[in-house]
């Protein structure tokens, strides 16, 4: 069957124009739902990246009393040095360096920095355990917690676990909303096509009577749905790129090392964008095809 290209372009165009309101509504729903789908994937990717960084060297930080006596400090250092089975590496952070880090961390809040002097900050040992498993990290923490001169021992695994749980929950929530919206956009596209077919039912009736094939009748409607899906997903990808850029910029501005590990690499964003484009256009095509087939019997 020779499909007349002019005919298809003309019909599709007039359908899109005739139903501007519905077309815009379905495109916007596609945009919103795909942005949400993309966001939830970006959140997941970010958490993944961050945890990989952390798990590469789960750190145990032993905070000492600011006024710790040198012999107590040496005792702890010796004990860390001796513990070859549990401790892979460790580093001493004295009060001056702690102050530098503090200034870096709170550079946006000068009043905080002013209220602090190096002498009140606790010196600390940053410890890289041999076995990053949560159990052995906890064991190490218990070991040093009650030593003389130790103020507190914190391990990153607590932070990570809370963070993972929180972001996991948030991204599940976002993903759920996105799934609902994706269904909504499918139904909206379906409905737009149905309305378009209803508006043109007399033409379709004549087409069937003079012997136009079902595909010939269907194709302009399917292209209409395809265009809605395509435009929607293009807009969604564009807004996702912008959102990610803003997010990454904010993270870098803060200069917080921990959070910047959440930044998602451009490659990941591209993968997600391609997935969204494919998803959006497939939704548009499939649901308009279903609508076109269901309502072709005039």
């Amino acid at each position: 069957m020779a499909l007349n290209v002019n005919y298809v372009i003309r019909e599709t165009g007039s359908n899109l124009v005739r139903n501007v309101g519905l077309t815009v509504a379905s495109i916007l729903t596609v945009v919103v739902s795909l942005v949400l789908v993309g966001t939830s994937f970006l959140i997941r990717q970010g958490v993944e990246n961050a945890t990989v960084k952390w798990e590469g060297g789960i750190e145990l930080i032993i905070f000492m009393e600011p006024k710790i006596r040198p012999e107590q400090l040496q005792a702890i250092e010796a004990s860390l040095e001796a513990d070859n089975s549990g401790v892979k590496d460790f580093e001493y952070v004295d009060q001056d360096r702690a102050y530098m880090e503090f200034k870096q961390l709170f550079k946006d809040a000068p009043e905080m920095v002013e209220s602090v002097t190096p002498s009140i900050l606790p010196p600390s040992f940053k410890v890289v355990p041999n076995d990053p498993d949560a159990g052995s990290v906890t064991a190490l923490r218990e070991q040093y917690r009650n030593d003389a001169g130790v103020k507190d021992v914190v391990s990153a695994d607590d932070t990570i676990r809370t963070m993972k749980g929180m972001t996991g929950f948030i991204s599940a929530l976002v993903f759920f909303a996105a799934a609902v919206l994706a269904m909504t956009s499918a139904v909206l596209i379906f409905n737009t096509i149905r309305m378009a077919m209803f508006a043109r039912r007399r033409e379709i009736e004549v087409m069937k009577l003079v012997g136009a094939t079902n595909w010939f009748i269907r194709v302009p409607f399917m292209i209409e749905g395809f265009i809605q899906g395509l435009v929607g997903s293009l807009l969604a990808v564009a807004s996702l790129q912008v959102l990610n850029r803003i997010f990454t910029e904010r993270l870098n501005q803060r200069g917080i090392e921990l959070l910047s590990s959440f930044a998602v690499a451009n490659g990941d964003v591209t993968t997600i964008s391609i997935a969204l484009l494919i998803g959006g256009t497939v939704i548009g095509m499939v649901f308009s095809a279903v609508a076109a087939s269901l309502y072709l019997d005039v």
Partner: protein
């Protein structure tokens, strides 16, 4: 050309539209279907271009059993069967020319065919001068001529007409019948359902009379009653 063998069509609620109808129509014949409303004339026409299927019996069009026709082939059957209706089914947003051209465009005919065929057929039905008008700017008779032009522009083997003069006054009807007669003389088989006694009695063609779904009369040079 057309052969019905014991065709029965029952609608939901046990409405018998056709009962055991058998009929053989040769190529180039002109056949009137007569009978009161609800006697099964329109059903017969809808069965012939497979808008519906029968419950029992076989229908042959151009030697092929159309009941066995797979769904995707139905459009190709319809390209050989032109249809004219009482309410001409013209598209009000298209001009006369566009309405007729539409029938060729949607079956994928190339543009040069459309450009030569449409003016020729509009000349035949006597509307060459009105090709730029919209249907609502035409009289009822002219609208029906456009509808016939659209049905015939693809030169089908068979032309089905379901009360084409139903909405027209007698004088206009005569014009339409002259046109259908001319089309019939080109070798096209014409089947026309009608209530119009004068037309049937004047034309003296084959008459098939239906009553409550049964063919009760099949006369070669028949009259209305």
């Amino acid at each position: 050309m057309i052969k019905l063998e014991n065709v029965t069509k029952v609608y939901r609620g046990d409405v018998v539209a056709l009962k055991d109808a058998t009929c053989d129509i040769q190529k180039g014949e002109f056949v009137f279907l007569v009978g009161p409303s609800g006697s099964g004339k329109s059903t017969l026409i809808r069965l012939l271009n497979k808008q519906e299927g029968p419950q029992a019996g076989r229908i042959f069009v151009a030697g092929k059993d159309i009941a066995e026709l797979s769904k995707w082939k139905v459009p190709f059957l319809r390209r050989n069967i032109g249809c004219v209706f009482q309410d001409n089914k013209l598209l009000s947003n298209k001009t006369v020319y566009e309405n007729v051209a539409f029938a060729l465009e949607v079956i994928g005919r190339p543009r040069h065919v459309v450009k030569t065929q449409v003016p020729a057929i509009l000349e035949l039905v006597g509307l060459a001068k009105k090709h730029r008008n919209y249907p609502e700017e035409l009289s009822g008779g002219e609208q029906q001529r456009v509808s016939i032009a659209r049905a015939f522009v693809n030169r089908p083997l068979i032309l089905l007409a379901d009360e084409p003069t139903g909405n027209l006054d007698p004088a206009t009807s005569v014009g339409i019948m002259r046109l259908l007669d001319r089309i019939n003389r080109t070798g096209t088989t014409v089947i026309m359902a009608t209530h119009d006694r004068t037309i049937v009695d004047t034309m003296r063609r084959r008459v098939v009379e239906l009553d409550r779904g049964t063919i009760i009369r099949d006369q070669v040079r028949g009259v209305y009653e």
